[in-house]
Symmetry: C2
Subunit: 184 residues, 2 copies
C-alpha cells in the first residue's frame, strides 16, 4: 500500500480492512499513525539491505561488486514486489520539507545507502580499477541521478529502454573514471 499510494497517504482504516483486522486491533500494535509509518520505512530499509546490498557485498570488492550493486538497486522493487516503487525514495520527496521523525528516518536511510555506495566505490579504487584522484561524493551523486532517471522513465513513461539507458549512463560514468588502459 505504501508503495502504491505513498507513506503519507496510508490510512489505518483501509489498512485494517485489507488485513481483516479491526481498526483498533491493528492500531494497538503501533500506538500512532506516525509509528506505523516509521515501521513501514524501517521494514522497507531492511528488505533493501537484504535484496540489494547483501548479495552484492558477497562478491569480491571492485568494479564487479559496484556494478552488481547498481543493477540490484535499479530494479529491486520488482524483486521484492513493490508495484509502486521504492517506498523510501517516494517518501524522500514527500517529506523533504516536513521536519519530523519521518523525514529523519528517510534521511538516515538514504545516507546509509550513500555511505555504502561510497565505500564500494572506494574499494574499486583500491583494486586499481578506478582512478585514485576520483571524487567519490560526485561519483555517488551521479549514481543516484542514474537511479532516479531510470525510475521515472520506467514508472511514469513505461520506457522499455530504461534499463539500457541506465547501463549506458553507468558505463560512461565508469569509463570516465577508470584507470587508463595502456595500449600494448
Amino acid at each position: 500500500m505504501a508503495s502504491r499510494i505513498g507513506v503519507g497517504a496510508l490510512s489505518i482504516g483501509v489498512l485494517a480492512e485489507r488485513t481483516r483486522m479491526s481498526k483498533s486491533g491493528l492500531f494497538a500494535h503501533f500506538g500512532s499513525k506516525e509509528e506505523l509509518q516509521l515501521a513501514v520505512l524501517r521494514e522497507s530499509q531492511a528488505r533493501f539491505a537484504e535484496v540489494v546490498l547483501r548479495p552484492a557485498l558477497r562478491l569480491p570488492r571492485g568494479l564487479g561488486r559496484l556494478r552488481a550493486m547498481v543493477i540490484n538497486w535499479l530494479d529491486w522493487t520488482r524483486a521484492v514486489n513493490l508495484p509502486g516503487g521504492c517506498v523510501i525514495n517516494a517518501a524522500a520527496l514527500e517529506f523533504d520539507d516536513q521536519p519530523g521523525p519521518l523525514r529523519d528516518e528517510v534521511r538516515n536511510s538514504l545516507l546509509a545507502l550513500r555511505r555504502t555506495l561510497a565505500e564500494t566505490v572506494a574499494k574499486a579504487v583500491e583494486t586499481g580499477e578506478l582512478r585514485p584522484d576520483i571524487d567519490i561524493e560526485q561519483f555517488v551523486f551521479e549514481l543516484n541521478g542514474i537511479y532516479q532517471a531510470t525510475q521515472q522513465n520506467r514508472r511514469l513513461f513505461s520506457d522499455p529502454d530504461a534499463d539500457h539507458r541506465a547501463l549506458a549512463a553507468f558505463d560512461r560514468l565508469v569509463r570516465d573514471h577508470a584507470v587508463i588502459q595502456q595500449k600494448e
Copy 2:
C-alpha cells in the same frame, strides 16, 4: 501549499481558510477536488515555461542555450518561490502508478519538457558543438538524472555543493559528447 505537502494532500478546507474564503465559495470555482489539482498542475507548468524555457529560448541556439536552460531548470523553484520544490516533479512520483487525469497531466508536462530539451540538444548538434552521432534521448535521460539528484541533495540533505555537483556532472556530459577540438 501543493509544493510543500504535495498535490495529493491538498485540502479544500485548509485552502479556503488560507485564502479567507468559504469552502463552498472556493469549491465552486473548480467543481471537484481533482479539477483543482489539475488547475494547480497547469499553473505550475505555465510558470515553468515562463521562468525556465522562455528566457533560455531567447538566447542563440547551441550549447550556451542548453546550458542556460539547465541552469534555469536546476533552481527555478527558488525563482518562483516554491519552497517545497517542483510541484509536477513531486506529483510524478505520487501518481506514476495511479491512472487518471492527474497522472496524464503530469506525464504530458514532463514529456513536453523532454521534447524541448531534446530540441535544444539537437540544435547544439546543428551548430557543430555536439557530435552528430549523439543519442539525444540518452542525453536528455542523463540531464534528468542530474536534475533529480540535485534536487534530492539540496532538499533532503541541504547539501551546499549540490549546484557545484550538478555543473560538474553537466560538464562531464557535454565533454563526452562534444566535437573533439583539434590541437593546433
